[in-house]
Amino acid sequence: MKFDLFVLPFTLGLIFLLGYLTVKYTRWYFRQDKSDRQKVRNGFLSLKFMSALREIFLESLLHRRIFMKNRLLGFMHMSLAFGWFLLIAIGNLESRVYEPTAANPPYVPIFFKFFHANPGTFPLHRVFSFTMDLLLLFVLVGVILAFVKRVYSRAYGMKRTTRLMLGDRLALTSLWLIFPLRLLAESFTSAAYGGGDFLTGSTGNLLGSVFPAESFCYPAWWAYSLALGTFFVALPFSRYMHIPTEVVLIFSRHFGLTEKSKRTSFTEIEINSCSRCGICLDTCQMAFAGGINTIQSAYQLKAIRYHNIQPGESFNCLMCGRCESTCPVGIDISSIRMITRNELNGRTPDPSFTRKPVSLVNQADVIYFAGCMTHQTPAIKKAMQTVFKEADVNVWFMDEAGGICCGRPMMLAGHREQADLMIEKNRSLMLESGAKTLVTSCPICYKVFAKEYNLDIRILHHTEYLLELANTRKIKLESLAGTAVYHDPCELSRDIRIYKEPRMLLGKIMKLAGTGEFEKDNTLCCGNSLANFSASNEVRLSVARDAVEKLTAGGAQYLVTSCPMCKKAFEKVSDVPVTDIAELVSKALHKHQAHPVTVVRKKEPSVALELHGSI
């Protein structure tokens, strides 16, 4: 068996790493509840295993998602990950082809050139050494790109890059040294004993003409082995833990594991899968519009991983989900943030919300739940009432005199148990009414109705409902003058994805202007998010101002949204009139039908006329 003392740092590092990972992953597996363990066991025997392998190849090695967003960044990650993988795989193949019978411990392929400097007559030698040199060049390009990114991230279109901690620095330095040291070691070997190809051969010639290659050869191999060993030991304590854990995450996700309301092993896997690549930093409005650079997902996940959470930072997030939709690893950040908030609140709150009686239940076909916020934008609820009257709907305005809140703000405050009580109370009231449809004007309510209420009735946001009324000719709409730009509220976008309905509805009334890149999955938060507790009014206003600027850049005459919270936020800072889609619908009705609202308005000109007459 081939052996030399210098392989020890590498070998011991590898043994430590594998041992550490085995213990960690086994513990995570056994900490799961029974049904999750069952899912994992079943997953390995099903087709899900193959689809997971496919995703691992595409994402962990090729980094397809990063590549689609940012070519240069994608190439950098691919050359490091896929290049290194091929270097290991083909290196192993080479050593097996060369010595099929000999014992082949893992260090032999890694230090192949040391043990077999010049294989001489071996027929495939030229092919292998050329391939290995090409791959080494490929990885070295990645290292150079990574170095440039660290020094000057703007070259990659990234304004920000994550701050490093000690473990990261150690791992990063050793990782960057691994490949240049391999090049040096192989070059000196080639200079001394021959056998190098286009890369190691020519650098070997160059180095050999300056330095005594034979005496530099052995120290270079030691340095290479030491760099590898250091990296393996530092890996579990640095961000590079993401390399093995991301593979575990992809398998777990394909096997059907998801985040729950409490911390599970899946949460641990996700937290450790964050590579702190920094893609989330630039998408965060709190960073580019609010000037706050400590709360982004990469930092929050780091704080959770190292048990260093500051409540002020944890509660200073808009939970708009922009980072989540760009995360190349696909980490369910919003759920993890909610779990963290729950953990920060030690105490179960007072469940006294029914001390005074809640409004009586009415039997109806449709329940209208305006939502707390809609009561502060009365134009929206008035518009909805006008439409209900026009379409002659048997509707029960559930929170007309103010109801129990939907529960989502309470969940965002980290009081999951209290929210569950509110949900249960509201749910029983809704079911009692016998209605088949639940309409709400508030996207915040909509999200929690759809995701947590588990109702057997249709849940519609008013944009969907109004479109349905228009399509079934229950209401007739006429077009209004002007162009409108539509803003997707966060809570209706990304994971709920109500994009088509509001645009179709608005298209029936007004000319629609585009919002450029800031729409649908890439929509902006209005800054008034209920998820954020800590941000001051100034920060909120600057987020809103920035969003309005971007939305109205196309010169639209109306800024239309479908969320009372967004309306409230934009109204404060917008020069363009801000309106809810329901208000426009009720305006488009006014032209040809008599309404209570129009009757009131008709009085105004007559008063004016009288005044005019008296003058």
Partner: protein, 114 residues
């Protein structure tokens, strides 16, 4: 004892120096805008929780200033965090953070952390 027709009352002045302002100080450190509150009561009139429970943020802030911490703990958990008070506040006080920090202070006091 001779009855003079009047007697000396015990001292009824409030000793403001002995107020236990732990909650107020804790909240103030995290959310200085609590000092902008002028107790106008707009928050309480906009409140969702007040429809179904006895709850008033105006009262909570006054209680914090007076150091009546027991009363705060009794009602501070009734807030629904719906944010109407924040929208309504004429002084832009970050009301929800005040309630959140009051709850946090109450927890910390009961755990003897502050």
């Amino acid at each position: 004892m001779i009855d003079f027709g009047y007697k000396i009352q015990t001292d009824r002045q409030i000793d403001y120096d002995s107020n236990d302002r732990q909650i107020l100080e804790f909240v103030r450190r995290g959310e200085p805008s609590i000092d902008w509150c002028m107790s106008c009561g707009t928050c309480a009139s906009a409140c969702t929780a007040a429809v179904t429970t006895e709850y008033s943020l105006r009262r909570l802030i006054i209680l914090a200033r007076r150091g009546m911490n027991r009363e705060i703990v009794e009602s501070v958990y009734r807030c629904r965090f719906c944010g109407k008070c924040f929208n309504a506040c004429p002084r832009s006080v970050n009301t929800r953070n005040i309630v959140y920090l009051m709850q946090l202070a109450a927890t910390k006091i009961s755990n003897h952390e502050i």
